[in-house]
């Protein structure tokens, strides 16, 4: 089996290899993570103390908007697709993804989409400044001219995501090795299949939303303009019909990651495999009927508020099942705490804290007090940073030896973990307090009563941002000069990629199907 392929830049431009594409996705998402993170630093510097010291309010709004868009669409989502590309063929015993050329295209759309989006910062009138949720009419009638670049950018990201999702589904349903039945698939594969269905369901809805914005802005329609018979609240219904499943799109693959890692370092099989699959599917189904819990303050009829409140609270049931199953997996296991395990444990604990605040937010009568305050900012950063991002980080540490054939420095990895763990809490925990004290989100300046917690959050954010550079250093150092890794680097690891594959993983995965027991 030869590894014949072009070299240099052509290798990356023309590649149809799932590993190359996965690598590009992961590096791209890391670059976006740093860009979006730099914007977060601007936000936290401005909020370090009361008064406007660094930026004017309009630029501040551009930063919050771009930070959100880049982190959601540029950092978290591509990182998950990168993991899917690397791992799914290895885990199900397939030679590659089912649609390799489309795979290449779905990646290469992204750099162009984000160049368009980021270039809007340098345009007259500045970048989009209406928040990542781009509510009409602030984004339509009142949006800056660069809004059209944002619309085109979102379309391109959507096309990329849909193609990525189709590829996952086609691969998983057609290319499993003989004997790899659906209920034998690693949980990471399951969570990704379910995520892919969510993507295919909701990305077109997002595309519809931005298209309606475009025609409202330029072609005389009035979908969201009340003066022309339209409805600005309809925008929010359509947006959140995409937006709520979107939050599960960002977290479900991370559920899959920790469901692989926790059993490995507990040296014990995942507890309740089938209930994990059913719980993931129920979360995905429920995510379609809870969208309006983002809109309790818009003046919905009380019957609507009741429905969305109850449906949202129900999500805590399958989510609880997952958390209990992870705990039960560790129970009476034989635990060790290497870096991937540390990140996975932090994931379970901190994501659960985000789940608690989620139940609080679901309760409409108190949500009136939490809604659009820093309490919400604290909540969704708890599920996104120690959730989605710790999940990806854990995955990188766990599979890096398999991918590169080299082992990272465990001490450095643990240092990265502890710095991240301390600073992520220092950044986001105080936000619960400033929110409860009454600080609205998306404001560039605030009364002195909020200053202590904002200062703490800013200090935490600077530390958190710097600690991620350590991650970059560790990964580069591993690739360049890491010690040789073993075929089965982790004692408790299970799965085709550990049991039936060399380290580093060969350029072509499973040219002949592996035996699945």
């Amino acid at each position: 089996m030869s590894d014949h392929h072009p070299t240099g830049i052509k290798r990356w431009l023309y590649t149809t290899n799932h590993k190359d594409i996965g690598t590009m996705y992961l590096w791209f998402s890391f670059v976006m993570f740093l860009v979006g993170g730099a914007m977060a630093m601007v936000i936290r510097a401005e909020l370090y103390q009361p008064g406007l010291q660094f930026v004017q309010p309009d630029f501040f709004n551009q930063m919050t908007t771009m930070h959100g868009l880049i982190m959601v669409f540029g950092a978290v989502m591509p990182s998950m697709v990168g993991l899917a590309n690397w791992l799914i063929p290895m885990m199900i015993g397939a030679p590659d993804m089912a649609l390799p050329r489309m795979n290449n295209w779905s990646f290469w759309i992204l750099p162009f989409a984000f160049t368009l989006l980021i270039s809007s910062l340098f345009m007259e009138g500045g970048a989009p400044n209406f928040g990542w949720t781009f509510y009409a009419p602030l984004s339509t009638t009142y949006g800056p001219p660069s809004t059209d670049f944002f619309i085109l950018g979102v379309h391109m990201m959507g096309i990329s995501s849909i193609m990525g999702a189709i590829n996952v589904i086609v691969t998983v349903f057609n290319m499993r090795a003989p004997g790899m039945t659906l209920m034998k698939m690693p949980l990471f594969v399951w969570t990704w299949v379910i995520t892919a269905f969510l993507l295919i369901m909701v990305m077109p809805v997002l595309a519809g939303t931005v298209t309606m914005m475009l025609t409202d802005r330029h072609f005389g329609t009035d979908f969201f303009n009340a003066a022309g018979g339209g409805d600005p609240v309809m925008f929010q219904h359509i947006f959140w019909f995409f937006g709520h499943p979107e939050v599960y799109i960002m977290i479900l693959p991370a559920f899959g990651v920790v469901s692989e890692i926790i059993p490995a370092f507990s040296r014990k099989k995942l507890f309740g495999y089938s209930s994990m699959v059913y719980a993931t599917a129920s979360i995905a189904l429920l995510s379609f009927i809870v969208w309006a819990h983002h809109m309790f303050a818009t003046g919905m009829p009380v019957a609507g508020e009741l429905f969305f409140m109850i449906a949202t609270m129900l999500i805590a049931v399958p989510t609880g099942v997952k958390v209990f199953n992870w705990v039960a997996t560790m129970w009476r296991g034989s635990l060790t705490f290497e870096t991937p395990m540390l990140f996975s444990i932090a994931f379970v604990i901190l994501f659960t804290i985000g789940g608690f605040s989620g139940v609080m937010l679901a309760m409409a009568p108190v949500d009136f007090q939490y809604h659009d305050t820093y309490f919400v900012v604290a909540h969704f950063h708890y599920v996104l940073f120690p959730g989605a991002i710790f999940g990806t980080t854990a995955a990188v540490y766990y599979w890096l030896p398999k991918w590169t054939g080299k082992m990272y420095n465990e001490k450095m990895g643990q240092l990265h973990f502890w710095l991240s763990m301390i600073f992520v809490n220092l950044t986001f925990f105080p936000m619960h307090f400033s929110g409860l004290a009454g600080m609205p989100r998306r404001i560039p300046d605030y009364n002195m009563m909020f200053s202590d917690f904002n200062m703490l959050a800013s200090i935490g954010a600077f530390g958190l941002g710097l600690s991620q550079l350590l991650f970059l250093f560790i990964v580069i150092k591993t690739i360049r000069s890491g010690k040789k890794a073993e075929n089965k680097q982790w004692e408790g690891a299970a799965g085709l990629e550990w049991d039936q594959m060399d380290t580093p993983a060969p350029y072509h995965t499973f040219s002949t199907p592996p035996k699945v027991s």
């Binding site: 009138g125 009638t141 007090q369």
Partner: protein
């Protein structure tokens, strides 16, 4: 050893810094119970959920930490081999379900109560616009705008030293919403341009102000006092600078306030009519114009008239300010649909309108040299 001691000392210093921050801020650690029945019920519900969640956290995290300590490889080298228990899984599906059902009962009750705005004692229309609130007392015939009262010089510190900030920095307005204590006040909330949200934490009232739609909410405040909140829906550049201040007064004080407000209005209307009737000279127009411009226009068009194009065009050397007077009056009085330019015809007096238009045509090197008199504004509004 020296190094370790240094590390410990610096850790202790960091910890004490964090703790001092938490302690000094302890007043702002939690939601305030507020001053209405609904806000107090919301607070009680909030505390109840917090305690329930804390209980769950103690159990779940407790089990995890027990596992970390006693099931680590060094203490528990042989892992158990079970990985499934239908009974257990059933139990931990049912328990959260029961807890959530228990939580939802008081939530449903409170929600239904909060959404019942029927049988109000009085009604006020609340209108949000970029970036101020307008209050209209539907029965008393009173209406006014409520603007941020904190001067820009206190917060704009980019490249310069800011002035000392007052206690109610960014949470103070020129005209508060005044309502009587112990009366059910219905609020009809809407907006002129983009979506805003009217929130006062102590009242537990948060309602989106949506252009083209009217939302209904209500409050019945139990204690006299001044309560401060903010706009909570991103509404553009100065979203962080449109506070809500509600002053709750006794019923007799409220009556006096209404009488004063009506008397003031008659005096102001008379003064405006007198001012509009006379002919103004250039220096007076420019002086009043500059003051009005800084109050109302500079927030978008900048003090030096350069604006932030293309969303907020500059007025210096602009086609409007140097073009026909009538078009200039038109845009200031009626605004421009589909843009941030509001209709100032009802926000300013005729004299202020005339002055500010004159000012815009003659400031920053604009050199039209023409004067606009209040009478011209009156004539324009009358349709001549």
């Amino acid at each position: 050893m020296g190094n370790r001691r240094k590390l410990l000392a610096s850790l202790a210093a960091l910890l004490s810094f964090i703790l001092s921050g938490v302690v000094s801020a302890s007043a702002e650690l939690n939601m305030r119970p507020g001053v209405t029945e609904t806000s107090q019920s919301a607070y009680d519900l909030h505390m109840m959920v917090i305690w329930v969640m804390t209980g769950v956290a103690v159990v779940v995290f407790g089990l995890m930490f027990y596992s970390f300590i006693f099931h680590r490889k060094s203490k528990h080298p042989k892992p158990a081999t079970w990985s499934h228990s239908t009974k257990l899984e059933f139990v931990w599906t049912i328990i959260p379900f029961v807890i959530l059902t228990a939580l939802s009962v008081p939530a449903v009750k409170l929600l239904i109560k909060m959404e019942d705005a029927s049988k109000p004692d009085m009604t006020i229309q609340v209108t949000g616009s970029q970036w101020k609130w307008h209050y209209k007392y539907l029965n008393e015939g009173i209406q006014f705008y409520s603007n941020l009262a904190t001067p820009r010089s206190q917060f704009d510190e980019v490249g310069k030293e800011g002035e000392t900030k007052g206690e109610n920095y960014l949470l103070e307005v020129d005209n508060e919403l005044v309502i009587p204590v112990n009366k059910k006040v219905r609020l009809l909330v809407t907006a002129d341009d983009v979506i805003h949200s009217w929130w006062v934490p102590e009242l537990a009232v948060k309602k989106d102000a949506i252009p083209g739609f009217i939302n209904e909410t209500w409050t019945k405040v139990l204690e006299v006092g001044t309560y401060r909140g903010q706009c909570t829906e991103l509404c553009g550049k100065d979203h962080g600078f449109m506070p809500v201040v509600v002053k709750v007064v006794s019923e007799s004080d409220y009556k006096t306030w209404v009488e004063n407000k009506n008397r003031e209005r008659i005096v102001a209307e008379k003064a405006a009519a007198e001012a509009a009737a006379k002919s103004w000279d250039m220096s007076k127009l420019m002086a009043l114009g500059e003051k009005t411009y800084k109050d109302k226009c500079a927030v978008c068009h900048k003090e030096d008239g350069t604006g932030t194009p293309p969303v907020f065009p500059g007025l210096k050397d602009s086609a409007i300010a140097l073009g026909p007077v009538r078009e200039h009056i038109e845009i200031v009085v009626n605004g421009k649909a589909g843009t941030g330019m509001q209709a100032f015809g009802s926000q300013l007096t005729d004299a202020e309108l005339a002055a500010v238009i004159t000012y815009e045509r003659n400031a920053w090197g604009n050199d039209k040299g023409d004067k606009v008199q209040p009478a011209e504004i009156q004539a324009f509004k009358a349709g001549n």
